[in-house]
């Protein structure tokens, strides 16, 4: 519906590009079975909200099978689609699933921000012999990004499990994934004018999370702010904070780590309400200033 596969059917035909009926549990299971039998399917959920219909197939059939079979059955599948808040689509169509899928061993979960991320992570996900959940973002589909020559090359991949430092800084570490990475960079630009230099870490992968890059950054800046679109409880930021506490970076924190998240409510419809339910640039700036006590 969002034209991500535009042109693919023309190029590859019915055998390789299959339009399905609206039967998520059924088609997700079919895709997983096809992967078990040697194909490399890419299964699209129109949005990840609908993946809840099929979540048993993602977790119990895809994620756990390699382990249960002691490595004899591989499930090289990619589940992809838009995740998280969109614009005015209300509560049932706006949920972020990063924490839900990131919770499960056996899955890999990636969350691209830029065009380079999207292309490189998709190719890496397809080539990976394991089930990968790729959480895209509908509002990012229309946003143009610069792409290097290298990123445009045919076999370019972004390795799964490695975060990227989008902006170097010295005063505070902002860790984020997906669309909020852009907000972090905007906040960083505003804060730079006030002499605060933010280091912006784009996680790129939720699971396995590259906590080492975050730790190295926190050791340098001594301050941590996590930013995500999902709800606060049991979220990506909560996991980052817990892991920072367990690791070497804890002793380098000059202030408690802070989380910026979606508001802890189902997403309302009215624009003014919706706008205040997602982390905005001003919310990030406020959190940074609180952390730095300025």
């Amino acid at each position: 519906a969002l034209q991500i596969s535009r042109g693919l059917w023309k190029k590859y035909g019915d055998k390789r590009v299959i339009d399905t009926p609206i039967s998520e549990m059924g088609f997700a299971g079919i895709a997983v079975g096809a992967a078990m039998a040697g194909l490399r399917p890419v299964c699209e959920f129109m949005t990840f909200n609908f993946s809840m219909q099929a979540i048993d197939q993602v977790i119990n059939s895809a994620a756990k099978t390699c382990y249960m079979s002691a490595g004899s059955i591989a499930v090289p599948i990619v589940f992809r689609g838009p995740n998280g808040a969109s614009a005015g689509v209300a509560a049932q169509h706006s949920q972020c699933f990063a924490a839900w899928y990131g919770h499960c061993p056996g899955l890999k979960v990636v969350s691209p921000w830029s065009s380079e991320d999207s292309k490189g992570l998709l190719k890496a996900s397809i080539r990976d012999d394991n089930p990968v959940v790729m959480l895209e973002n509908e509002l990012l589909y229309g946003v143009p990004f610069e792409m290097s020559e290298q990123a445009q090359s045919k076999d370019f991949i972004v390795p799964i499990g490695k975060a990227k430092i989008e902006r170097e800084g010295t005063h505070v570490t902002l860790v984020s994934h997906s669309r909020p990475v852009g907000h972090c960079l905007e906040a960083a630009a505003v804060l730079a004018k006030e002499g605060v230099e933010c280091e912006v870490v784009n996680l790129r992968t939720i699971r396995p999370m590259d906590i080492e890059t975050v730790e190295a950054s926190v050791v340098k800046t001594n301050h941590l702010v996590t930013v995500e679109g999902g709800w606060p409880q049991f979220g990506v930021g909560a996991e980052i904070c817990a892991r920072i506490m367990e690791g070497p970076a804890f002793n380098y924190l000059d202030a408690p780590a802070v989380r910026v998240t979606g508001a802890d409510v189902p997403m309302p419809y009215a624009k003014i309400l919706e706008d205040n339910c997602i982390p905005q640039v001003k919310d990030i700036i406020f959190a940074v200033k609180k952390t730095l006590n300025i």
Partner: protein, 374 residues
């Protein structure tokens, strides 16, 4: 071991094959069905007998080991249903594919996993067919995709395997099994739709043993004609206690799929002697009389034995010898399953991912780490 010396009976005294009448299948959206007679050779008969008897004794041994608390957790036994998995296996090729739910030990054996590896998996030892990682409900081997614990989830998986069969174009089919309980799952109807739309070489097989856990079919389904529940998918209802009936029906179904006609549905009417699982005595929702009646009138192994003896395909003594050999095999397998060591602790972290460089997995606290190897 003492052997009884029987009156010398030359193997040339036996018939080489015989023809048997088998029950006509009820048909749904089919002009004609499988044949109503089946030819069975002596070799085939002996093979079917030995295989079914092995499964029977293996399941009874599992019952014993479970009561001794050597097997733990879930244990869903297949005794009574042997004709289904054996009849299906001999109708298809090793290159075809099979997927079923959790009452899977019979299929695991039929698809080629030795008894000792099945029992050792049940007892959670490193010699188990999946190294103790899966247990009763998660055993796998080549072209056998388990062993699935979530009721009904294996059905879309089976259609997906069939999709891969169609894609690769090697004329393979996938047997996708489920029970009368699972037959009411929504995802099965989603799968019927897609399998028919895309003409997938998927043979849907409902093993109707009359009870979904403790609920009889009449109390669970508005329509108990499971072979018709595929609606637009042709179906047949088969006597699941007769290994030849199952065999002929499965051959018919496989031909249908291989001819590119799309999916087909088989309902196998069968019976389980045990309760749903080892936690279920199986007599609170059905009578001992009913169980006894099936045992005395419809037992699949007895049926086969009587047929073979009555047509001179084998002698009673010969079949008894097979029984003895089977018992021995099961005893040895049980010996192995009770003495093989448990998997080493290191195994805990392995096989999270496939084809992945080694990494570390967190244990119950941050200081306990396990290496994960693919």
């Amino acid at each position: 071991a003492s052997r009884v010396m029987v009156a010398s009976r030359n193997y040339a005294d036996f018939a080489s094959e015989a023809t048997f009448e088998i029950k006509k299948c009820d048909l749904h959206r089919l002009e004609e069905g499988p044949p109503t007679t089946a030819v069975m050779t002596r070799e085939e008969g002996l093979h079917y007998y030995k295989t079914m008897q092995t499964i029977r004794r293996m399941e009874l041994k599992s019952d014993q080991l479970y009561k001794q608390k050597i097997i733990r957790g879930f244990c869903h036994l297949y005794d009574g249903q042997e004709a289904c998995c054996v009849g299906l296996e001999v109708a298809i090729k090793p290159t075809d594919h099979v997927i079923t739910a959790y009452r899977a030990h019979g299929f695991t054996y039929a698809r080629g996993v030795p008894v000792r590896e099945i029992l050792a998996e049940l007892t959670g030892r490193k010699g188990g067919c999946v190294k103790g990682k899966g247990g009763s409900m998660h055993m796998y081997t080549k072209n056998f995709y388990g062993g699935n614990g979530i009721v009904g989830a294996q059905v879309p998986l089976g259609a997906g395997i069939a999709l891969a069969c169609k894609y690769f174009g090697k004329n393979e089919v996938c047997l996708t099994l489920y029970g009368d309980g699972a037959a009411n799952q929504g995802q099965i109807f989603e799968t019927y739709n897609m399998a028919a739309l895309w003409k997938l070489p998927c043979i849907f097989i409902c093993e109707n043993n009359r009870y979904g856990m403790g609920t009889s079919v009449e109390r669970a389904a508005a329509s108990t004609d499971y072979y018709k529940r595929g609606d637009f998918i042709p179906g047949l209802r088969v006597d699941g206690m007769d290994v030849l009936c199952v065999r002929e029906a499965a051959k018919f179904a496989a031909e249908h799929c291989r001819a590119g006609k799309g999916p087909i549905l088989m309902e196998l009417q069968t019976y389980r002697y045990h309760g749903h699982s080892m936690s279920d005595p199986g007599i609170s929702y059905r009578t001992r009389e009913e169980i006894q009646e099936v045992r005395s009138k419809s037992d699949p192994i007895t049926l086969l034995k009587d047929r073979m003896v009555n047509t001179n395909l084998a002698s009673i003594e010969e079949l008894k010898e097979i029984d003895v050999a089977v018992r021995k095999e099961i005893e040895e397998a049980a010996q192995f399953a009770t003495t093989d060591p448990e998997p080493p602790l290191e195994e805990l972290g392995n096989h999270i991912y496939y084809n992945e460089p080694p990494f570390e997995v967190r244990g119950p606290n941050q200081w306990i780490r396990y290496k994960s190897v693919s």
